[in-house]
Symmetry: C2
Subunit: 615 residues, 2 copies
């Protein structure tokens, strides 16, 4: 295992461990900072400017012309062209943060008006009751806050809060409704959470709604996976078991409550201080979250229960938050194209581009949105959970112990999250490994791991030695038993390749059919935004080598991270963004591939890996 | 024990057992029918007309002039002047039902516009989704019901209901909100419940909201009594125990859910079909029901948490009903004068009288409202639970086995509910017994049961024999061991008399101080409406003999039954009545006797029983 170096980013203070030679852009993405790269990381636009505060980095390997000599002398580099050579601390200027998050994150420092959360707080000082003024507590507060109405949850706390605070209380309001009351002045503590509820992975981000700052992130494998890996199997559970919906609903609620607990603990916030919760997920996940049976999604013509969710309070779902807090569930487009896709459009503002652009959100459900000629078209494909490390023999989420990067340089070099011996591999490690196996010839285009006697000549011996036979099939050793955390080797199995091909083929076929319907050739795409809750950075060249993305110019592909979380956070921070999301959901056309006879043949073709290097 | 006769009323079909000689008016009240008696039962107004369908009744003992000979021949009688002489079936014409209930009950037969429940139902037929029409289920329904919004609970049922009903569903709406969806057409099944949540007794009435008809009544002792008999002791529990409020809240919710279960079973209604729940109770009970701490009610100046309750859904309180159903909690006046008092005013329309009238609601909290000179003034006194059979040695609710009537006629004659051997005595039995003991001289005006050697001469021996000594005090045997259900005698103990005196004194003192503040003498009262959740008929002459009511003309006193339940039912059946209730709560002046130095002296004086017959 190679030595890794710690990279710390400012002003967030987040740190990651990376292999030497990793570009800063990737390291930043792994730390959750998505940096502007309009040129696609070619070193030409100069937007990804960062400053080396201390430590070792390479000079930019090209693109220095985008920087002045003074800038270089002051430690400025282009994140896309500068590589880690030792422990390093890097400052990311506000202006370099990717635009979708930009207006939100920038406002964490400035007073940007984009932060207009629907939920607000203020301190109110009241006069205590006396003999001549025996108004009820509610009347006393409402008289002082003309036009506001006290909700049940706030009223439950009002008598004690008034008396504990000497009749000075802080009220939390949504629209004209008081949802919470606290004694004294705590107007500066205003919190909410944004959730990406994926089929396989759940991510919750606790946000300071005053500053827009992320205070904590918690994530976990969706425990509903015990009911089935994909949405179709969960819909079946709801259809076939009388308590199926109840159990799936309770499972996701319990999981969300655990995320809330973890994030709240990390951020030193009481769960009851959470005054707004925003959820983005696919239609099945969102309906189950709401306690709505998704069974109709399993019957033609795949109709969701809602486009816009009804008003829901945290108490309705037994969520650990202020019981009167609004639970905002993203609007849905249709069929399996749900709130996560809308959140992706909101995060990237995909509809505001004037050239053809594609958003590809890689998850267990793959969602693809094409922006072209002033309209949006979206589709969904069942990719399976391979990219999230599930249904892979030694797959795991992108957490400590996961192989997240694989490079062949005569032997196998791996990068393990947390700088520990590897336990398994996550989605990005899987993509890397398959791409490198294809490049080296260990894997053929049909996805077969070649037996040692069929391996091409000239393959390094150290690589060839790693092909082993077990149970009549061949597998590839990513980490030997003496290198692993478990004492057993970390293998990439033949069956894992098949899972990847299914996921890959589905996404590729979806992309091709969307383009076809729009009369576009892949090369006409101005941009491909690659999103996903990988928790990690997909290497574009490898995503193209395995054929997930069509053969378009490498620099037009941009990794935009977890756009479902980003979009949810935007809506959390701004009521206007929710209106925007509803507009997007109403105007996006749903292309239902399940009814498209071409899908199967396109899918079959896309199961084969590309012949040479794709891009 | 005397023989009782069964009296059955038409068209309700309700039956009660009464002693021979009982006037029909009383028998009807015991069966839950409050009959018009504007003349106070003097046989002069002719409003209490009933028809003897079959069986034995006396001719009217006066007042026949109010009837024509044809009417008499056709079996018509005045309920106030006609006595039961054997088993009898009696029809109560719609026009004879007491006005407060009249407009509601009459509409059970006619199409009276007074029944305008805020909750409504209608059948909607939709076209099923097809390839070209993949609108979400919610959009499909809302498009067909312009301006209505589907709530969470309805949406949860919508996908299955649409498909089970071939896209024909019955929707339940409140205002512009759809709260429930059922497959097929069930527009004729629209139900709600009205609750009187008293300190000691809980009553729930399940009502058909289309016809206004009562379908079932359930009642029980408030299980919160295990935390204390009166509201003050329960407020203390909330103040002193960290989980006090939670336990009291859960106790009342659980009890209400049991009432719902019982009434729903009797009426063959599913609890989830209950689409509106209306509650009337005192401020402490209502606040605990809502989960609001009543602690501020225990501190000067006794401020309630709300005048008008916030919007509450059944799901917020975990009530067994349609989760999205509105829970309507009555508006409150102030201090301890709560929703039950407002409900009493709504039930009797007390504010619409042009002569001075008094509403006295006898419960553990006694509430008194004076209507005079165009304004309402209300007060509350802590009477204790004696009238509801609690804190009485052998006290019990007015259910099977309770002595509910006591007459001295040389010996003691008792009437037991259900025509079974007696187990104990209820409030009306207690009042009767004490009145008769006063009349016969067994009890002196200080409330002392005289020992045998002090008993007045001429007292019947059978009565005198019933005074026994136990533990240094004297008690009165209402039923001997050989007559009782338990094998032990049913006693009226000296301590019970003291409890009655406290209750009596508090109510009497409250009445006197309200009148005094208004500059009125008792004789100026045009009407005294005597209300209470006795479940039984208080005999006016006895209520006056014990001094509960001031010495005004007997015929001006009218027993109006459980007005808290009546008022709650009115609001259940009509949205306009809720507006009326809010207006009443806003305009009624609260006279706080706890701050009145005269109350203690008035209370002390009222503890003494009146000297002779009161009226």
């Amino acid at each position: 295992m190679s030595q890794e170096f710690k990279v710390v980013f400012q002003p967030s203070g987040r740190g990651v461990y990376v292999l030497p030679g990793t570009v800063l852009l990737e390291a930043a993405a792994r730390a959750g900072h998505v940096i502007e790269t309009p040129c696609g990381g070619m070193g030409t636009c100069g937007k990804c400017l960062v400053r080396i505060v201390s430590g070792e980095c390479s000079p930019c390997d090209s693109g220095e012309h985008a920087l002045t000599a003074d800038q270089v002398a002051a430690g400025y580099r282009l994140a896309c062209r500068c590589r880690v050579q030792g422990p390093v601390t890097v400052e990311i200027p506000e202006s370099s943060i990717f635009q979708s998050g930009a207006k939100i994150l920038s406002s964490s420092l400035g007073g940007d008006t984009e932060i207009k959360p629907a939920v607000q707080k203020r301190f109110v000082a009241l006069s205590p009751p006396v003999g001549e003024d025996q108004r009820s507590d509610r009347d006393r507060l409402e008289d002082a806050m003309e036009g506001f109405e006290v909700g049940l949850e706030a009223l439950r706390r009002l008598p004690d809060a008034l008396r504990a605070g000497s009749f000075g209380v802080t009220v939390t309001t949504v629209d004209r409704r008081v949802v919470r009351v606290e004694p004294g002045n705590s107007a500066d503590r205003l919190f909410g959470m944004a959730f990406d509820i994926g089929t396989t992975t759940l991510v919750g981000t606790l946000v300071d709604l005053s500053s827009g700052r992320d205070l904590a992130v918690a994530s976990m494998v969706n425990p509903q996976t015990s009911f089935g890996d994909d949405v179709v199997s969960r819909i079946k559970v709801c259809r076939d078991a009388s308590d199926g919906l109840k159990r799936l609903h309770e499972t996701i609620i319990d999981a969300v409550n655990r995320l809330i607990g973890e994030a709240a603990r990390k951020a030193s916030v009481h769960p009851e201080e959470l005054c707004r919760l925003v959820f983005a997920g696919n239609t099945t996940m969102q309906e189950i979250l709401c306690g709505i049976s998704p069974v109709a999604l399993g019957e033609l013509p795949f109709v969701p229960a809602f486009r816009e969710a009804p008003r829901i309070k945290a108490g309705d779902l037994k969520l650990r938050a202020c019981a009167d807090a609004d639970v905002v569930v993203f609007p849905q487009i249709g069929g399996f194209v749900g709130g996560d896709t809308v959140a992706g459009i909101v995060a990237t503002q995909l509809d505001r581009r004037d050239k053809p652009a594609l958003l590809v959100d890689v998850g267990t459900n793959g969602e693809i949105v094409l922006a072209h000629a002033g309209r949006l078209t979206a589709t969904s494909v069942a990719a399976g959970p391979a990219f999230e490390g599930a249904r892979i023999a030694q797959g795991m989420r992108a957490t400590n112990g996961a192989i997240e990067k694989v490079v062949f340089d005569g032997d196998v070099r791996i990068n393990v999250i947390g700088d520990v011996p590897p336990t398994g591999l996550c989605g990005t490690g899987l993509i890397d490994a398959v791409a490198e196996l294809l490049r080296s010839g260990v894997l053929d285009v049909t996805g077969r791991i070649l037996p040692p006697d069929e391996l091409p000549r000239g393959i390094p011996e150290a690589i060839g030695r790693r092909v082993i036979e077990l149970g009549g099939q061949h597998h590839f050793v990513l980490a030997r038993e003496d290198e692993s955390a478990t004492g057993a080797p970390v293998l990439l199995c033949q069956r894992d390749i098949r899972e990847l091909q299914l996921a890959n083929g589905a996404i590729r076929a979806g992309i091709m059919l969307l383009l076809k319907a729009a009369g576009l050739d892949p090369v006409e795409l101005d941009e491909v935004l690659l999103a996903g809750a990988f928790g990690n950075f997909i290497r574009r060249s490898n995503a193209q080598r395995i054929g997930m993305l069509p053969p378009i110019a490498h620099e037009r592909i941009r990794f935009v991270g977890n756009t479902a979380s980003f979009g949810a956070k935007r809506v959390l921070l701004s009521g206007d963004q929710m209106e925007y999301a509803c507009r997007v959901a109403r105007l996006t056309r749903h292309q239902d591939l399940s009814l498209d006879p071409e899908f199967q043949s396109e899918f079959g073709a896309a199961m084969l890996f590309p012949d040479g290097d794709g891009a």
